[in-house]
């Protein structure tokens, strides 16, 4: 009987052991596994962060650089005000002016024109728009009269950058010129040479002692008209994405029904000479009377208020170059980091899978809110894109949404 009792109890005992194992040992094992995983992930995040830090400039340096740029803007604004009292003329040939789609034209002052140019260039991710630049530099009888030494250096820096940019845009301009049968002498190649000559001249001036530069007193006595560097900049921007441009957009050009963003129908953005540009806007035939009037008004107010927009009461767009430049810095920072961490590159041929997102920053330059406007199609890639935004923190503060495409 006794042995019988034992034999009845044994299975129960093993069952108890089994349940006990299930209740205690398995969760313990899961906890250990989770902890190990957590430690590994933490280490991985830490290592990614360290990797990120190695690739990024300290934000303080960027802030300093922005402060310098804001100073430039202030100087540009002063120059602009001074220039407003002088007559302006247009150096663009009628062929260029009438046929090209979008023009942001600035007065013939180097600082102002170049600042505006880079403001526009920073407005959006580079791959997202085609910018054609034409540049002409007239040799002045004397170095710019009102500039101080530091402004001269700044000018030189900008000129060098412009010369470099002109080189990269050369092919696009040539294609455009062929398509529109533009004069050959408007090729940036020639313009780049002119710019480079100007750079050399500036460098020689800067190397010489201060006596080659006019004193502030002398400068103040000279006419702005005579002292201008003579820079003229026209930026032609296409608000189209390249993938669309290649296929659908071209199809639209051939469609009689659909009005499109084809080159000959781009909207014209103008600042500068009122009478000539207003007429050109109307002559292009792509804008209605309301639009033409709005363009005329924009020349005076600096704001674009479309006649059509009166439907809903509000329709305006102002150009804020400081804001755009700040956005450019933020976007570049993210892009550089993304490239360093994941090898993602905008310039990669046929790269389609991108996360299109926009985000807001808080006062301290940290990402406050992110919206994914179009998913890359992969949740993992979308997650990486958001991770990069956080890894590149903090940023310089930018008000409003910053939009970008981020390949992963």
């Amino acid at each position: 009987m006794g042995s019988g009792r034992e034999s009845r109890h044994e299975p129960f005992h093993y069952r108890f052991l089994g349940i006990s194992l299930l209740v205690h040992a398995l969760p313990l094992a899961a906890l250990i596994s989770y902890s190990v995983d957590w430690v590994e992930r933490s280490e991985s995040i830490e290592s990614t962060k360290n990797k990120a830090a190695a690739h990024l400039e300290p934000v303080a340096e960027e802030r300093e650089s922005v402060a310098e740029q804001e100073l430039d803007d202030e100087l540009a604004e002063l120059t602009k005000k001074a220039l407003e009292s002088f007559p302006r003329d247009i150096l663009l040939s009628p062929e260029v002016f009438n046929q090209l789609p979008a023009v942001i034209h600035q007065e013939k002052d180097g600082t102002l024109g170049l600042d505006e140019l880079f403001g526009v260039a920073n407005q959006a991710p580079v791959h997202h728009r085609v910018a054609l630049v034409e540049f002409s530099a007239r040799t002045s009888p004397a170095p710019q009269a009102l500039v101080k030494n530091n402004m001269l250096k700044n000018e030189l820096f900008h000129l060098k950058r412009l010369a470099s940019n002109l080189g990269t845009l050369e092919q696009e301009f040539d294609d455009f010129r062929r398509e529109h049968s533009l004069e050959e002498d408007k090729s940036p190649t020639r313009m780049r040479k002119t710019v480079l000559e100007e750079v050399v001249r500036y460098e020689n001036s800067a190397k010489a002692d201060g006596s080659t530069l006019p004193s502030e007193k002398e400068a103040a006595g000279k006419s702005m008209n005579q002292s201008n560097v003579g820079v003229e900049v026209a930026v032609f921007e296409a608000l189209v994405e390249k993938p669309l441009w290649e296929s659908e957009q071209k199809a639209e050009i051939n469609s009689p029904r659909v009005r499109s963003d084809a080159p000959d129908q781009w909207e014209i953005w103008i600042r500068g000479d009122e009478s000539k540009k207003g007429k050109a806007a109307q002559a292009s035939g792509v804008v209605g009377d309301g639009h033409a009037q709005a363009l005329e008004k924009m020349l005076v107010t600096g704001k674009f208020e479309s006649g059509e927009g009166h439907d809903e009461g509000v329709y305006s767009k102002s150009i804020d170059t400081v804001q755009e430049r700040r956005q450019g810095l933020v976007v570049n920072r993210i892009y550089e980091l993304s490239k360093a961490l994941y090898g993602s590159d905008y310039s990669q041929e046929g790269f389609w899978e991108q996360t299109h997102l926009r985000f807001l920053l808080d006062d301290h330059g940290y990402v406050e809110r992110v919206q994914i406007m179009r998913s890359s199609g992969s949740r993992e890639a979308d997650r990486k894109a958001i991770d990069v935004l956080h890894l590149a923190e903090p940023y310089i503060y930018v008000d409003g949404w910053i939009e970008m495409h981020l390949p992963m």
Partner: protein, 298 residues
Amino acid sequence: MDVADAPELIGRGDYLVNHVVGCVLCHSPRDWTYFSGPVKPGEEGAGGAIYDESNGFPGHLRAGNITPEALGEWSDGEVAHSIVAGVNASGDSLFPVMPYPYFRSLCREDLQAIVAYIRGLSGKPVSAHQRRLNFPLNMIVNFIPKPWENPQCPDASNELAYGKYLVDLSFCASCHTPRDGGHMDKDRLFAGGREFSVPGVDGVVRSSNLTSHETGLGAWSRQRFVRHFKAFDQAEFLAKPLPIGSFNSPMPWHSYGGLSEADLGAIYAYLMTLQPIENRVEVWSRPGGDVGTTGKKP
């Protein structure tokens, strides 16, 4: 369905909820002293529009609170089911003023994103509210919901398909189709002319013709269409309240202004494929037959 608390889902949901599907537009109080009635700050999802006999509705209902305070007990699947199938957690059929028939085209990833975002709204107190539908609507409403068919997300590189997807999710047809005895005139889809009474505006406001006819979008270039929307994505747009007696629009421009240029372009591309229907709409008719200045454009 169980929706993970994933940043990429919340980011996508933020965009869809605030700029495409517009959940918070109906489910929050709007401030009509500003142009296009933006949502009152801090009240997102707290419950909004009331539909009753005063605006011609056969019964009484309110776009309810969708914050976790109200939906906390619902599972993710129940929230998702109410959005795409029109049946709430209690098994009651929703009245299609909640545009769930349009939301049936939501693909799984986007539906998950919307639920993830709604889950993250900050809680707001739930006000007591009793839905009442007049006979026979209280019976008919039970036959409207249909199962969600779990469609594939459209290929973003197919502009027309993506544009259609966005137009469906934004239920453009609902406002931009004329009504015939309270029912949509399905022969004149997107032809505009539906009448609205907007708080603070004297007279009648009508929706625009979105078809490709020259009295509608046919007169608009793609760029003009995109730029028109993007003009409302600027902070200064909401800076000043409207002067008393001025025109206001029920169209939530402040919300749709946040759509990306690519998405707006896709919407335009799709709308331009619609059958052209001639319908020159007077957008605003003031009392006494005086046509407002906004009446000349689509």
